[in-house]
């Protein structure tokens, strides 16, 4: 009986040591640095979607200004598909009602950009000026939306970032309207790159707000 107990205890001890050894191996593997975290995925995803927004908007405005209707419709369709995915990303964090509220708000600014482009195409300065005024006003709406969703996103800061987005996109459209392709693509790279200044703080604020999800 005593020998059996000793053997049993020894076996258990051996098992424990073995498990610890195996555990140490897995722990080492799991503790290795990795970029595949939910927070990183959110940041990368938002950056990709928002820069895609700029590229597709630019494709649509360039087609519109060039009178290429079929190309404009295709680009506008792709731009709207991007808008839907962005709204779904918002919905994945804040729920379906937020997604439903976000999409028309996001689409609204695209309509204003279209108005500006039409003004540029027809040399209608009044239409362009009204579109710019509307877009600047829109930045307050968008800032208020995100501030309402997330206490770590101050309305004024968001509005300022969106204003910068609007103005960089305006630079693209102005260059396209002037048929200055070199300037247009330079402005496009600037505009697309600027979206990181919206995507990064947005991702950070979401992760801060929902640490258990990320």
């Amino acid at each position: 009986m005593k020998r059996t107990m000793i053997r049993l205890m020894g076996g258990l001890a051996l098992l424990a040591v073995t498990a610890m050894g195996v555990g140490d191996v897995w722990a080492a593997r799991l503790n290795q640095p990795t970029s595949a975290t939910p927070a990183a995925g959110l940041r990368v995803g938002l950056n990709a979607l928002l820069s895609e927004h700029v590229y597709l908007a630019s494709a649509a405005t360039n087609a519109a200004l060039g009178g290429r209707d079929a190309e404009f419709k295709a680009a506008a369709g792709a731009l709207d598909a991007n808008s839907i995915v962005i709204s779904k990303a918002i919905g994945s964090v804040y729920g379906p009602d937020a997604e439903k509220a976000f999409l028309p708000l996001w689409r609204k600014h695209i309509g204003m950009v279209v108005d500006y482009t039409v003004g540029a195409a027809t040399s209608d300065r009044a239409k362009q000026d009204k579109a710019v005024t509307d877009l600047v006003g829109y930045t307050q709406d968008f800032g208020a939306f995100l501030a309402s969703a997330n206490p770590h996103l101050p309305k004024a800061a968001v509005a300022d970032l969106v204003k910068h987005h609007v103005l960089t996109l305006k630079d693209v459209i102005d260059a396209q309207a002037a048929k200055d392709q070199s300037r247009a693509f330079t402005a496009l790279r600037t505009g697309a790159g600027h979206m990181q200044m919206i995507a990064d703080p947005l991702a950070e604020a979401i992760v801060t707000q929902f640490p258990d999800k990320f």
Binding site: Y94, A101, P104, L105, D141, A147, S148, A149
Partner: protein, 114 residues
């Protein structure tokens, strides 16, 4: 009048006020919150004579305008200037009252008055 009688009258008045509800001309409801560019709840049923309160939680002006953007009907149109702003709408007549925000026309709600 004795102190005892005054006390009894006061208690009766308090009890009466509690039964009738502390209210103005209409019976008040818990209300509608305007948040994240939505009316919450979006669909609401109330009794005729209700005074319905709207409170804005967004840091931007909204309106509560009866009807639809295509066809406002003029029954009510109140502005909620910013975060914390509140306004009430008196709903005396039974019926369906769709409403929207004039500044953000995708914001819609409906009140059914019974």
């Amino acid at each position: 009048m004795s102190t005892h009688r005054i006390g009894k009258m006061a208690m009766a008045l308090v009890a009466g006020a509690l039964i009738l509800g502390v209210a103005g001309p209409g019976r008040s409801q818990s209300g509608v919150s305007v948040q994240l560019f939505q009316f919450r709840p979006g669909q609401l049923e109330v009794k005729a004579g209700t005074r319905l309160a709207f409170t804005n939680q967004d840091d931007i002006a909204h309106t509560v305008t009866s009807g639809t953007p295509e066809q406002p009907d003029g029954r009510f149109d109140v502005r909620l200037e910013g975060k914390g702003a509140a306004a009430s709408v008196d709903l005396g007549t039974p019926g369906a009252y769709p409403y929207f925000c004039r500044r953000h026309q995708s914001m819609r709600g409906e009140i059914r008055v019974k």
